[in-house]
């Protein structure tokens, strides 16, 4: 076996889910072989009324589409609010107020984790964030609004997980853009949707009129590159020095600091190796006398996001516990109706099968298998279609929750689809299948006679 194939196989077998998947597939193949005569009957039944099969399948596809769309939103929200135990980030923000506004001087103290005595721990790395909102015109029209994250470009790749899974080409482009921004602080990088919205091209120069730092307008900003697709697609990145130099210039010009000069640091990320260090750092920062005006708090990134999402809790609860079950119920009902009609029409056929020696259980299983087959296949087709259309055509689902960009359908949806379709079809067909099992030969033939 070639070496690369061997590596691939070992990597594939590393995941228990892959092993289970392969085992299930093989089990299915064996079952199909053993039950070949039954399978032929199932396919014949489905072919008998193509219109009904098509309608059932179409209904399943539509409803699976809705569930996958909703789950894609919930899945991402769950993912970002799940606590990690290793290599996670903590966020330091103003303790009592949002939006958080801290003095830039806090950054230096946080770099050392507010360590004062031997044995105090320090974060592995930190990244500070300053927010700068601006429009392209002095009239400050909303259509031209850009929201910038002013950061140290050197921290972008090491600290931002958004860029961990990008392609090699995208990484090379981003590295080049970061280098360029470090060389010339007037350069900015914009998200692709942001660039589309303001109708500008890479290479153009723009002037920015701030809406949050009044009087801090920035001229001659060169749009140097775009950010890879992802969470930051609606935003822009700017060198932090550009904003801070402008704030210094304001003070020199006006003889007094800008009203937000002492409030320009919005949040700080700390890279932390484990929960023990997190606890110790939280104590150091919480008890430090350096953070009194304003006081600060440290929390995990997931906890911070969860707090933001709290405002949407009723809506998310409704999506999770009302909408999804209701769609599943509709899907089951559609399946139950179609299968029960099908069983009623085929009572004679089932009586004949019983006469030919088929037991009640195989007949019941055949009916169940018909439904599950339609559900699973339709669910899979729907999942593939949903993934393709939402991710590649629509560029994600634009759902207005907090600061989240368009939601993309995860690859996991490719197994959600068949699972949803198959299971709901199974639930919907249990009663009709049971009635097929209970068909009485004598009664059916007496009616015919």
């Amino acid at each position: 076996m070639p070496h690369y194939l061997d590596d691939w196989l070992m990597a594939f077998l590393d995941s228990p889910w892959n092993v289970i998947g392969v085992a299930l597939f093989l089990f299915g193949v064996v079952l199909a072989y053993v039950w070949a005569p039954y399978l032929r009957l199932i396919f014949k039944s489905l072919r008998r009324n193509p219109l009904r099969t098509m309608l059932m399948s179409a209904a399943t596809m539509k409803l699976v589409l809705s569930i996958i769309s909703i789950w894609s939103v919930l899945w991402l929200l769950d993912l970002v609010t799940t606590e990690r135990t290793k290599d996670f980030k903590a966020i330091v923000t103003e303790r009592w107020q949002i939006p958080s506004q801290m003095p830039l001087s806090y950054e230096r103290i946080l770099q050392d984790g507010a360590a004062v005595k031997p044995g105090d721990v320090k974060p592995q790395n930190i990244m500070s964030w300053q927010f700068y909102g601006a429009t392209l015109d002095a009239k400050k029209s909303r259509e031209n609004l850009i929201f910038f994250f002013c950061v140290d470009p050197a921290k972008v790749l090491p600290m931002m997980e958004d860029f961990r899974d990008i392609s090699d080409q995208e990484r090379a482009d981003l590295e080049d853009a970061i280098r360029a921004v470090q060389e010339d602080k007037r350069r900015i990088i914009l998200g692709r949707d942001c660039l589309r919205r303001i109708n500008k091209q890479v290479g153009e120069r723009i002037s920015l009129f701030s809406i949050n730092y009044l009087g801090i307008d920035l001229d001659d900003c060169e749009i140097y590159a775009t950010l890879p697709e992802g969470r930051l697609t609606l935003f822009g990145l700017m060198h932090r020095d550009r904003l801070n130099n402008a704030l210094d210039a304001y003070e020199r010009k006006n003889g007094k600091p800008h009203p937000l000069a002492r409030k320009s640091l919005n949040l700080v990320w700390l890279q932390i190796p484990d929960t023990v260090t997190y606890g110790q750092l939280a104590d150091q920062i919480g008890s430090s006398s350096s953070f009194t005006d304003p006081a600060v708090k440290m929390e995990t990134a997931s906890s911070g996001i969860a707090a933001f999402l709290d405002a949407y809790r009723d809506m998310l609860w409704g999506m999770r516990w009302l909408l999804v079950p209701a769609i599943l119920a509709v899907l089951s009902l559609v399946m139950a109706t179609a299968i029960s009609i099908s069983v009623r029409e085929r009572r004679t056929e089932m009586a004949v099968l019983k006469v030919l020696g088929f037991g009640p259980t195989p007949i019941m299983l055949m009916v169940l298998a018909e439904a599950v087959l339609i559900g699973t296949v339709s669910g899979f087709v729907s999942a593939c279609g949903t993934w393709l259309v939402i991710n590649k055509v629509m560029g994600g689902l634009r759902f207005p929750i907090a600061f989240f960009p368009p939601f993309r359908v995860p690859l996991d949806a490719l197994w959600w689809g068949p699972m949803i379709g198959g299971l709901t079809a199974l639930v919907g067909s249990i009663v009709p299948a049971w009635s097929a099992r209970s068909v009485r030969v004598a009664q059916v033939f007496a009616k015919l006679a």
């Binding site: 506004q101 949050n212 707090a307 809790r313 769609i327 559609v334 207005p400």
Partner: protein, 459 residues
């Protein structure tokens, strides 16, 4: 965009267009059939065998029940989702006065990102368009709006640990109440000039900050203490201080329902926001408000963003609009599932009743009457399911929920406590939606029933 994506896009758009045309034609035909039905009830046209259809629905009750249930689920969910969106719309519409002008800092879209600390704006007090009270004082409200991060008392492990509270610091609460047309519930009082009072039961002489609460936030904070709502005299912690309730606002149905009002100097100092975020001026009438907003935006120095207060709250409907589109999109996809379900049922009903159709034709019923008959059957199914769905959906009317309203164009948005509102428009919309589903789902099978040949079906 790759070639594959482009081809896919063309296919999707093309296919979508075809479906849209087909649905439009079906709707047109459906409307025509509904008109014919009406004429039959009025006795202008010969009637269809309605009793036959009704009996069939009863005879095949399990299928009828399952199909109607699908309609029920879809319509009840649609009503609930629309009630959520409607509640938010009503909240923003009920907030703000058409005669008030709201002044924010230049460029700010929302109070949370506004700061009027860039220059001397106290000259606003002398702005000529402001209405004066009986004592000759201008009806102007100076406010600082901020959002406070509050750890929840007695939070369950694994549950919600913190919430965001909206605090409004005011110079003169009684004047602000007049400007915003908000009074206190009996038994309450506005906070005093000092804004603090001794904390009840404190032996250390601790001072509690006096606050006035909106009804909604009083209910939310009450849950922390196991009460239905906080009342006058109750104390709660926020930002390492104790806050004592001195009044409850009659604010139900407005965004002020979710706010905590306290003395501006105290909250400004406590939370590091010494300047104002908002100034609200009361003018004589709607026209005066519009003119004043325009004039202030164009000519006032330092530059400010002024707008009629109702216009400001209307702009906060940005997220509501998105929620509405999302709700309609989900309901439409669910409805398509329901339509396909009813189509299935009706096709099956027709294939089982070929002989019945033959007999009806021999008895003298015309093709269009058979079409009407089966079309009506599906509409009946939709009507029954939809009506039950509307009833179920109606049950959420008045339920409390929380969400965020924002302009959707930058800025923070604000969390609000509001009530779900199911009104007659939503119920009628739900019923119409259900009939539309029945219309689309029943038409194709009814057309196929119309084409049944009597002799062949009886053979």
């Amino acid at each position: 965009m790759s070639i594959l994506v482009k081809i896919l896009l063309i296919l999707v758009v093309g296919f979508g267009g075809l479906i849209a045309v087909a649905v439009a034609l079906m709707l047109l035909l459906g409307c025509g059939l509904t008109l014919v039905l009406l004429l039959q009830f009025l006795g202008v046209l010969r009637r269809i065998p309605l009793g036959y259809n009704l009996r069939n629905l009863f005879v095949r009750w399990p299928t009828t029940l399952l199909t109607a249930l699908a309609f029920t689920v879809v319509v009840s969910l649609l009503v609930m989702m629309l009630a959520f969106v409607n509640g938010l719309f009503e909240l923003t519409q009920a907030s703000g006065q058409t005669v008030n002008v709201l002044v924010l800092s230049d460029g700010a879209t929302e109070e949370s990102v506004s700061s009027l600390g860039y220059g001397d704006i106290t000259t606003l007090n002398q702005y000529p368009a402001i209405v004066k009270d009986e004592k000759g004082e201008p009806l102007i409200s100076w406010e600082v709006y901020l959002v406070v991060n509050q750890p929840i008392q007695n939070a369950k492990p694994g549950g919600q640990q913190r919430r965001f509270l909206q605090v409004r610091g005011l110079m003169d609460p009684a004047r602000t109440g007049r400007v915003h047309n908000i009074a206190l519930h009996p038994g309450g009082a506005w906070f005093t000039q000092a804004g603090v009072q001794p904390l009840p039961g404190s032996t250390t002489g601790e001072q509690a900050v006096q606050v006035v609460l909106g009804e909604g936030i009083a209910r939310v904070l009450g849950t922390d203490q196991g009460k239905p709502s906080l009342e006058v005299g109750d104390v709660f912690p926020m930002a390492e201080r104790q806050w004592i309730v001195v009044g409850i606002l009659q604010s139900s149905g407005s965004t002020f329902d979710s706010e905590i009002w306290a003395k501006q100097q105290i909250v400004g100092e406590k939370f590091g926001k010494p300047s104002y975020s908002t100034v609200v001026l009361r003018t004589a009438d709607t026209d005066a408000a519009r003119r004043a907003a325009q004039d202030l935006s164009d000519n006032f120095k330092p530059a400010v963003a002024a707008q009629v207060e109702t216009a400001y709250y209307e702009k906060l409907n940005g997220t509501n609009q998105s929620f509405l589109y999302a709700a309609l999109a989900v309901a439409s996809v669910m409805a398509l599932g329901g339509v396909l379900g009813v189509m299935n049922t009706m096709f099956a009903a027709i294939s089982q009743r070929q002989k019945d159709i033959g007999v009806l034709r021999i008895l003298g019923y015309a093709r269009w009457q058979i079409l009407e008959s089966f079309f009506l059957e599906s509409l009946l199914l939709a009507l029954i399911g939809g009506a039950i769905g509307c009833l179920l959906g109606w049950m959420v009317d008045g339920w409390s929920a929380s969400s965020i309203i924002s302009s959707g164009s930058g800025g923070g948005g604000r969390s609000v406590v509001f009530k779900l509102v199911v009104d007659s428009k939503i119920l009628l919309g739900g019923l119409a939606f259900s009939l539309l589903m029945g219309n689309i789902g029943g038409l194709l099978p009814a057309l196929s029933a119309m084409r049944v040949r009597p002799l062949e079906s009886l053979r």
